[in-house]
């Protein structure tokens, strides 16, 4: 990293440089620009000083300086979040964990690995190759996102259907609290004593402190895997298939649905051989002992065909399997092939009502004259409707916002929840009061204040605050230079 060339004046900057090193602290205009955004369409963030600590002690220094100078701080990993969770408001110190990427210790017998938060999700599983173990949560961004970010968002992923989301795979955490003290939450030796504060922290979206060491539980590689690609001419048939598979007692490792638009966007990149003329493609993966796997493949195939599947293809080898997954996991990134911007929701609805809600989602998009692309974790009813648009066309953003609100409303009405795995961040705050009562929200705020009484750690996020620092895309209503 380049040494800052100009005369250093800001006392906070000087202190941070003293605490870390000159090449790992910056308030450069270019850096502040980049670190004011994550992978969502939220604009209007404002980063203050950006730091790259390398260990727990350095994080403690960053946090205690935030206290000393009465500044807020925001923790950020790879910045692949989709809800603005790491978008900084109010010129905070941005603590970037990407240089904390050590895999500290792997205990094969106990099936536990201690890692620093900046370890990339896929790097851990690659590192474990040959041990017969892997880290189960596999968000679509797993090749880039960090385990710290997975903890913050309690991330899911296709294979969380059978294996559970991140929370099930975190044994213990070393956390630097917002007052800069260090605590360990949870334990690698069975249950922790007292309340499960580890469980509170996972999914806290960085509002409760900074995880500096994470003990993850490792999962055994399944002895046999079968990946099926099912091809439907009606998306409701695919949704019905999903419900019936699970109603028949089969719990696949993953059950993912992509509609025609998504397939068209990803196929040129992934070359997975997805049928381009299908209205819906369902990826079903079953794993376990060989006999069980072939039995379940049989059940899924029967159900699919009864529901009008045109073709059932089973991946012939590991390479084909990888390509099928590569396509699914590149979906969000491939959107630019259709339109330059996207607005993504993450609601979860009861599986039995999939077909009905999906139809409504298409209706909503149609009413607002928008394109919607559906790619989602069908097995657990976690929708990811992507409204794709070109923000430069006047009036489009208003339509998108409106359609988004309606999608949230119909999901909640169907008995669903706001977010499955992307978190609330900045983007879904304004929907929180639709899901929770005033008292619910107060209780959550009290819990948060018990960790962070001074509201220093990633404030302005998750719970509705009345004002929001970021705005959807160019709906940037906050003039430059105004503090919130």
């Amino acid at each position: 990293m380049r040494k800052s060339q100009r005369k250093v004046k800001d006392p906070l900057l000087i202190s941070l440089i003293k605490a870390l090193s000159e090449d790992r602290v910056t308030d450069g205009a270019a850096a502040r620009r980049i670190y004011s955004k994550d992978a969502s369409v939220i604009e209007g963030g404002r980063a203050g000083v950006i730091c790259f600590p390398e260990d727990t002690a350095e994080v403690v220094k960053c946090v205690s300086l935030a206290n000393e100078y009465d500044r807020e701080f925001v923790t950020r990993g790879a910045g692949t979040g989709l809800a603005g969770g790491s978008v900084p408001c109010n010129d905070p110190i941005v603590i970037v964990t990407t240089r904390m990427k050590k895999i500290i210790d792997v205990d094969i017998e106990k099936k536990i690995a201690w890692v620093q938060p900046g370890v990339v999700n896929l790097d851990l599983s690659n590192f474990l190759k040959g041990t017969g173990l892997h880290f189960a949560p596999d968000p679509s961004s797993q090749q880039a996102c960090t385990i710290g970010g997975n903890v913050a968002n309690n991330s899911g992923g296709p294979h969380c259907l059978a294996y559970g989301v991140t929370n099930s795979h975190i044994a213990a955490l070393e956390v630097v609290l917002p007052d800069s003290s260090i605590v360990q939450l949870g334990s690698i030796e069975g249950e922790a004593r007292g309340y499960d504060l580890r469980g509170v922290f996972v999914g806290g979206e960085g509002t409760l402190g900074v995880a500096t060491r994470i003990a993850v539980r490792l999962t055994e590689d399944p002895p046999e895997i079968a990946t099926l690609l099912l091809d439907f001419s009606k998306i409701t048939d695919a949704a019905e298939t999903v419900s019936q598979i699970i109603a028949n007692g089969v719990l696949p490792a993953a059950l993912e649905l992509m509609d025609r638009n998504v397939v068209a966007a990803v196929e040129p990149f992934a070359k997975a051989g997805y049928p381009l003329d299908a209205e819906a493609v369902l990826i079903a993966e079953v794993d376990g002992l060989p006999d069980g796997v072939s039995h379940e493949v049989g059940i899924i195939t029967d159900i699919a065909i009864n529901n009008g599947a045109r073709e059932v293809r089973i991946a012939a080898d590991e390479e084909e399997r990888e390509r099928i997954w590569k396509g699914r996991k590149s979906a969000f990134g491939a959107i630019a092939k259709i339109k330059p911007d996207y607005y993504l929701h993450d609601t979860v609805i009861p599986r039995g009502r999939l077909a009905e809600v999906i139809e409504k989602v298409y209706k909503i998009a149609e009413t607002h004259d928008l394109v919607v692309m559906n790619v989602f974790h069908a097995g657990d009813g976690n929708l990811h409707p992507l409204l794709v648009f070109d923000a430069r066309i006047p009036g489009t953003l208003e339509k998108v916002k409106k359609a988004g609100e309606e999608i949230v409303r119909i999901s909640l009405e169907a008995g669903g929840v706001l977010s499955g795995e992307h978190g609330i961040g900045l983007e879904k705050q304004r929907f929180m009061s639709q899901q929770f009562s005033e008292r619910d929200l107060e209780a959550q705020d009290a819990l948060r204040r018990s960790f962070d009484p001074e509201n220093r750690s990633n404030p302005h996020k998750v719970l509705p605050t009345g004002s929001s620092c970021g705005e959807l895309n160019s709906l940037n209503e906050i003039p430059e230079g105004v503090w919130i």
Binding site: M1, G28, A39, S141, A144, F269, S330, K337
Partner: protein, 407 residues
């Protein structure tokens, strides 16, 4: 108009295609495939960050600061991000145009300017080569990451007369002067397959890739014109340097003329051409396990890395590196201009080599680009061009009269 005080630059600097910039949705899937982000963890040194910064100038919201320029200067231009990008953002074009804009407003570092001048002047190159050769023989020259060891004092003469349809081996600049044995190996291999090949000859010279990567567009276009004029053939042009091959294949796009487009269509990486046109021998009994290190401009720019494997596979057992074609840090002039970063990136490659070498055996490594070979050699790895290894094996076959295996 406002300018940045330190750089004297304003937001008129870039004139990139807004639609091309818009193709990036900032998903971040490129991050782990960027060598400079891998070693720094700093998004100013990532494709997503660089695109955000280009966009900020392109949309007139930002005047380039030294920090901004540094972000662009530190790009290796390996194009690993292009392979990783689901939206197929042509990052190579974006950074190339940005470097061109920067080169138009400031001077490149002296060392780079001298280096590029030498490549462009065949006589000067011959002189410098002689000097390097002497210094190396006298032991006055340290191992360097951009000059190979054993540079010959005098230029080797290759056959240059050819009929207009025959394939021609493009010999380039430093490769011809500094590592002529690679060309010899290529000619030997091609002769073994019964292909009559001549070399491009001394007037053809440098392809201009490094000039283009430094942003000197007008120079590189002039060099491209020279290359095309001096090779007035209609047959295939074979290239055994991935960097040059990628450049020759891009003449058409760069110049936009019909002549350049037709020329580029005739360009093949030598492995690609062999794999597509020659009958490879049956597999021999394989004793050697060989690590293939893909040059970025073969894998990410040309997408032709698979042919190296096809050509090698009859002779050796191929060991794949677990790093998905991450750059080695050579990057043409990058190892000179960004020495520190280049060395850090090379350490990742060392880790990747160690990962495949679990048994502690001694592997040889091959890489189809002279820059990568030299850069890695200076770190002490035994590394060769793939065709040097193939030439060894075909030599053995010829000597033991195993030609019958071909029939």
């Amino acid at each position: 108009m406002e300018t940045n005080m330190e750089t004297g630059l304003n937001n008129e600097l870039l004139l990139l295609e807004p639609e091309t910039l818009n193709a990036c949705v900032s998903c971040g899937l490129c991050l782990p495939h960027c060598p400079t982000y891998r070693v720094t963890g700093d998004e100013r040194m990532s494709p997503r960050g660089r695109i955000a910064l280009m966009r900020s100038v392109d949309t007139k919201e930002f005047n380039p600061t030294p920090e901004w320029i540094h972000s662009m200067d530190t790009c290796v231009q390996c194009r690993g991000c292009e392979t990783a990008c689901p939206s197929a953002v042509p990052f190579g074009e974006l950074i190339s145009d940005t470097k061109k804009a920067l080169a138009s407003v400031r001077k490149l570092p002296l060392t780079i300017r001298i280096g590029l001048l030498i490549l462009n002047k065949p006589r000067l190159l011959t002189g410098v080569t002689f000097l390097i050769g002497v210094l190396q023989k006298l032991g006055f020259m340290r191992n360097s990451s951009y000059i190979p060891s054993g540079v010959p004092l005098l230029k080797r003469q290759f056959k240059t007369t050819y009929s207009s349809q025959d394939p021609v081996l493009f010999t380039g600049c430093v490769m011809e002067s500094w590592t002529p044995w690679v060309h010899t190996a290529a000619l030997k291999t091609l002769a073994f397959f019964g292909v009559n090949v001549a070399t491009s000859g001394k007037n053809v010279g440098c392809c201009g890739a490094l000039h283009e990567h430094s942003g000197l567009r007008s120079v590189s276009i002039k060099m491209a014109e020279n290359v095309m004029n001096e090779m007035p053939t209609t047959g295939p042009v074979l290239v055994n340097s991935a960097g040059c091959g990628a450049m020759l294949k891009e003449y058409g796009k760069l110049m936009g003329t019909e002549k350049a487009k037709q020329f580029s269509e005739r360009v093949f990486d030598v492995h690609e051409w062999i794999a597509k046109n020659c009958k490879l021998p049956n597999r021999i009994e394989k004793k050697e396990r060989l690590v293939v290190q893909d040059p970025c401009h073969l894998r990410h720019a040309q997408n032709s890395h698979q042919y190296v494997r096809e050509v090698l596979s009859p002779f050796v057992e191929i060991v794949e590196l677990p790093d998905e074609g991450l750059c080695c840090g050579a990057g043409g002039a990058f190892s000179v201009s960004q020495k520190e970063l280049s060395t850090e990136i090379r350490k990742l490659k060392r880790t990747a080599f160690a990962e495949v070498n679990t048994e502690g055996e001694k592997f040889r490594v091959v890489s189809a680009n002279p820059g990568c070979v030299t850069h890695l050699q200076s770190e002490g790895f035994e590394i060769k061009h793939p065709l040097e290894v193939v030439a060894e094996y075909v030599n053995e076959i010829s000597e033991t009269d195993e030609m019958s295996k071909f029939e």
